[in-house]
């Protein structure tokens, strides 16, 4: 159906404007003979001081020139201070604090050298250049019917000359070729962007298989020193990495990839506070270790509120309750932080005998499979 309501009457449905008399709603200025105000036309031009008074014009000229001169001054200051201000100099900037002298001086001089060109130009335009408004006519955006017909004729002649309508073999084979040629390019990019080892998402370097089946010592991050059980005093918090990270540090390769899933937070609570038996069993006398990677989008859950025994993620404020086996008590995360089972080895150091029982970090499609 044609959307041009007022012309489409008779069959089917049509919408009309309800303003009566069947008139089309047009801009007020185009309607004559109806009860509407007339456009009063352009108001008369009002002269500025500089248009009539040579002294005012002269004054404006001097003002503009002063702005441009100030710009040149700024440029000069920049060039001099680029060489004169030492790199390490600082000074006290009132209201802002200790500031790097070079940055402030270079920035202000550059800023003013640019700014005053603009101010000068605008002042010039506003005071001296003609401020008489000019009227330009608009024309319909659409081409005239003749031009449209001409364009259609030209294109049709072109199509006719290709013989495409009469040669379906070319038409369909061309369509096929054009439709398919992007596939190799797309395949190359998509196929080569990265190795995809989805199972790797479930793996961390706490896996004792990587350590010859031996339990893995808990190390302080970033010092990489082992943690004795008796050093973990009540209420203390340790940021922990596995002993197996040392291999990566020594080789200097894939350190961040390993750390990204291995980060653990170790906290000592009053054992009676822990309400979940599994959480108690996987810890040692109230010392418990949890993955520090948020189960929401993977930020480090770095804020520990000692009074409430809550762990808070600073990115999106997911809150985990340590006394409830790190269950989510608020925020956008769904799953609790995975617990790392720990024990004490013969030398009195904390070790993880099994690695994580579930994938750490943010959810992904295949996580539960």
């Amino acid at each position: 159906m044609n959307d041009n309501e007022t012309t489409d009457q008779g069959t089917g449905t049509s919408l009309v404007r309800t303003s009566g008399e069947g008139r089309e709603v047009l801009p007020a200025s185009l309607i004559t003979g109806v009860d509407q105000f007339e456009n009063p036309g352009l108001p008369p031009h009002v002269h500025r001081a500089a248009d009539d008074d040579p002294a005012a014009a002269k004054r404006a000229e001097r003002q503009v020139a002063t702005m441009f001169a100030l710009s040149m001054l700024g440029t000069l200051v920049f060039i001099v201070s680029y060489f004169a201000v030492p790199d390490e100099a600082t000074f006290f900037f009132p209201g802002i604090g200790l500031a790097k002298t070079q940055n402030v001086v270079l920035g202000l001089s550059l800023g003013f050298s640019i700014f005053f060109i603009g101010i000068g130009a605008v002042h010039w335009a506003k005071t001296l250049m003609s401020d008489e408004e000019v009227v330009e006519e608009r024309h319909e955006q659409a081409s005239s019917p003749e031009d449209r017909a001409k364009a259609v004729a030209v294109v049709n002649a072109g199509v006719e000359s290709t013989q495409l309508p009469r040669r379906p073999l070319i038409k369909y084979s061309l369509g096929g070729a054009l439709g398919l040629f992007a596939l190799p390019l797309g395949l190359q990019v998509a196929g080569s962007l990265g190795p995809t080892d989805i199972e790797e998402l479930k793996h961390t370097i706490w896996d004792v298989k990587d350590n010859g089946g031996k339990p893995i010592r808990l190390m302080r991050d970033p010092e990489m020193t082992p943690i004795r059980f008796d050093e973990v005093t009540s209420g203390s918090v340790f940021h922990v990495m596995p002993e197996t990270l040392q291999k990566y540090l020594d080789e200097g390769k894939h350190v961040l990839e390993a750390k990204a899933k291995a980060a653990v937070i170790l906290i000592r609570l009053d054992p009676d506070l822990i309400k979940v038996q599994k959480a108690k069993d996987w810890g040692v006398d109230g010392v418990v270790a949890y993955s520090k990677i948020c189960t929401h989008v993977g930020c480090a859950v770095g804020l520990y509120e000692q009074q409430t025994h809550h762990l808070l993620c600073p990115c999106h404020q997911s809150t985990f309750d340590l006394t409830e086996d790190c269950a989510v008590i608020f925020g956008p995360a769904k799953r609790p932080l995975p617990q790392l089972k720990i024990t004490v080895d013969d030398a009195g150091y904390l070790v993880a005998p099994e690695g994580f029982a579930e994938p750490v970090g943010p959810s992904f499609w295949e996580r539960a499979r």
Partner: protein, 588 residues
């Protein structure tokens, strides 16, 4: 004060006016370099066409200019930064001049950003100008977009340019995100870590997307160079291309103008490009650039040296993205965790993340992009519009816009829920819960309030036209009555208040075809009529001359003031009979 020229038609020139063509005719013939160029390029025609191009004046038209200029500043300073920035995640040990980080292992990207900040003279200034210009660019883009929306500048024939602008604003945000991720500091690395979480949240392909984008396991060494090529090549190329098309269409369509005396849908009234707009707009580039440089001189932005290099284990409290990503971050903070579930086949659906990360941006920008087409369908308006609407004269559109903005603001505030909790000593849980409710409640409330305000303003306009402007002069009559004197508007003053059209809802005439059966078209049209009703049900028609006439008579009947009622500006001797109390506002 201006006087009124009653007889001259709207499009006529004034006595002193001259057409740009006539001025050009007196010019000297081309010689020298210009002549040499024209011999080869034939550019004289184009130059005279461009030079006399007319642009209307309004402060709000400068918003787009701010966006354009700050983008140019970004391109300029960005080119500088590429001379020193090393887009590499390979680990090095820092030995530069910033003492607290000496000996620390970090990526080359972070090391080179430190070098730009501390070891390259003026490097910090360029870096800060780049960052400030980017922030101002995105602000200006959004405010410009709001101006175009609320004034209806997106209507035919400018829908395509609205779509271009929509894509530009989305690209601006993505470009900004890619840019602030490059230094590989702790804050931006945390942002990339969250981005990895977003990728993984996509159903079916999420894990693969993450591995493709990061070139393996997070973080890997591929993401920095890949973001770099997106930031300096791919996105800027599209951005500059689309921006050029955006500007060309402005030239093609000629700029819209606000309604005013002498301004019609068929003309454009303003100043020519040469010389006024070259000076004003060109000068404004220097003002924008200058102000950005001044800000960068004294206000630190993104002090990456204070954050340290990226490491997945530590984190800073109050981790927040740059402002334009705030609303998406806020959406993630508001989405409750229970939306995540595991379906049959043990597949994990991260519906606590996916809608706020990967869906939100494309969805929001699609809604913005299609709005002109929806409104055009509802109004059934096929005409070209070159005169802008005053926002009050399109109450429903304005209300829809404010409702959308209120939704955006709720999400934006949510991104600062931790900061609000700390600064205002409130519970973060309460703030988050409140914002969750507000996300659904604020838009309808904002819609209703805005629409009422618009309608009230329209009524106020009517009042002003019919009964004149309040003068602040209060007359006391002999019988003890007090009355404030209203001065009638001049036709020039009045015009802006009465020129608009007030569309009435479309109504169905017949909903059935010849056989009396509802046609599918009829259903579509019924829907359209409903929308039309929603848009135009509440309307305040502009005052008409006959209403003004009637108002005069009415006043004449009871006003008791001879000849034109009490709307005369000059008491004209009648004042002698009355005691006049002058308010602080004097008559002119």
């Amino acid at each position: 004060m201006s006087t009124i020229n009653e007889t001259r038609p709207a499009d006529a020139l004034r006595a002193g006016d001259s057409q740009a063509d006539e001025r050009a005719a007196a010019a000297k013939p081309l010689g020298g370099i210009a002549g040499w160029m024209d011999d080869r390029l034939g550019g004289a025609k184009g130059v005279s066409f461009l030079a006399k191009k007319v642009f209307p004046d309004h402060w709000s038209f400068m918003l787009g200019e701010i966006a354009m200029y700050s983008m140019i500043v970004c391109l300029l300073t960005g080119a500088f930064l590429t001379f020193w920035f090393v887009p590499s995640a390979s680990q090095v040990v820092y030995d530069g001049s910033y003492v607290p980080l000496q000996g620390v292992t970090m990526s080359d990207a972070y090391r080179s950003t430190l070098a730009i900040s501390f070891d390259i003279r003026g490097g910090l200034l360029i870096r800060q100008i780049h960052h400030w210009a980017a922030l101002i660019f995105v602000v200006a883009v959004f405010v410009h977009m709001a101006r175009v929306f609320f004034t209806g500048a997106f209507r035919k024939p400018r829908e395509i340019n609205w779509v271009f602008g929509t894509v530009l604003s989305l690209l601006a945000c993505i470009e900004g995100f890619a840019g602030y991720s490059l230094p590989d500091d702790l804050l931006s690395g945390t942002g990339i870590r969250a981005m990895n979480g977003f990728m993984q949240s996509a159903p079916v392909i999420g894990s693969y997307m993450s591995y493709f984008i990061f070139g393996g396991a997070f973080p890997g060494e591929a993401i920095i160079p890949r973001l770099y090529s997106a930031h300096v090549l791919l996105i800027p190329a599209i951005l500059v291309g689309l921006f050029t098309a955006h500007i060309l269409l402005v030239f093609l369509h000629k700029h819209t103008q606000f309604p005013g005396p002498g301004r019609t849908n068929k003309n454009v009234v303003g100043y020519p490009l040469m010389p006024v707009y070259i000076a004003k707009a060109g000068g404004f580039f220097f003002i924008v650039f200058g102000v950005i440089a001044l800000i960068s001189a004294v206000v630190t932005i993104n002090p990456i040296w204070a954050y340290g290099p990226y490491d997945p284990s530590p984190i800073t409290a109050g981790s927040q993205p740059d402002w334009y990503m705030g609303f998406a971050d806020g959406a993630l903070r508001l989405l409750p965790g229970f939306l995540e579930f595991v379906s049959w086949g043990n597949f994990t659906w991260s519906m606590n993340i996916f809608p706020g990360s990967l869906v939100l941006l494309p969805l929001m920008w699609t809604i913005i992009g299609v709005y002109p087409f929806v409104e055009a369908w509802v109004t059934g308006d096929k005409r070209e519009h070159h005169l802008l609407d005053r926002p009050r004269n399109a109450p429903t559109r304005t209300a829809i816009g404010i409702a959308g903005i209120s939704m955006y603001v709720v999400l934006f505030l949510a991104a600062g829920n931790d900061l609000m909790a700390i600064k205002l000593h409130l519970s973060i849980n309460d703030i988050t819960q409140t914002l969750r409710v507000l996300f659904f409640v604020a838009p309808p409330v904002a819609f209703w309030i805005t629409k009422r305000i618009c309608l009230s303003l329209q009524r106020a306009d009517r009042q002003k036209v019919l009964h004149g402007r309040e003068t602040g002069t209060i007359w006391r009559y002999a019988d003890g009555r007090f009355e404030e004197i209203h001065a009638p508007l001049t036709p020039d003053e009045r015009w802006a208040l009465v020129q608009h059209e007030s569309q009435e809802p479309l109504q169905l005439t017949a909903g059935k075809d010849a056989n009396g059966v509802d046609s599918p078209i009829a259903r579509k049209e019924r829907l359209r009529a409903k929308f039309s009703h929603f848009y135009f049900r509440d309307r305040v028609a502009p005052a008409t001359p006959s209403e003004l006439e009637a108002a005069h008579h009415e006043h004449g009947d009871h006003g008791g003031v001879a000849d034109g009622g009490h709307e005369a500006i000059e008491p004209a001797g009648a004042g002698a009979e009355r005691e006049t109390i002058k308010a602080d506002k004097q008559l002119d």
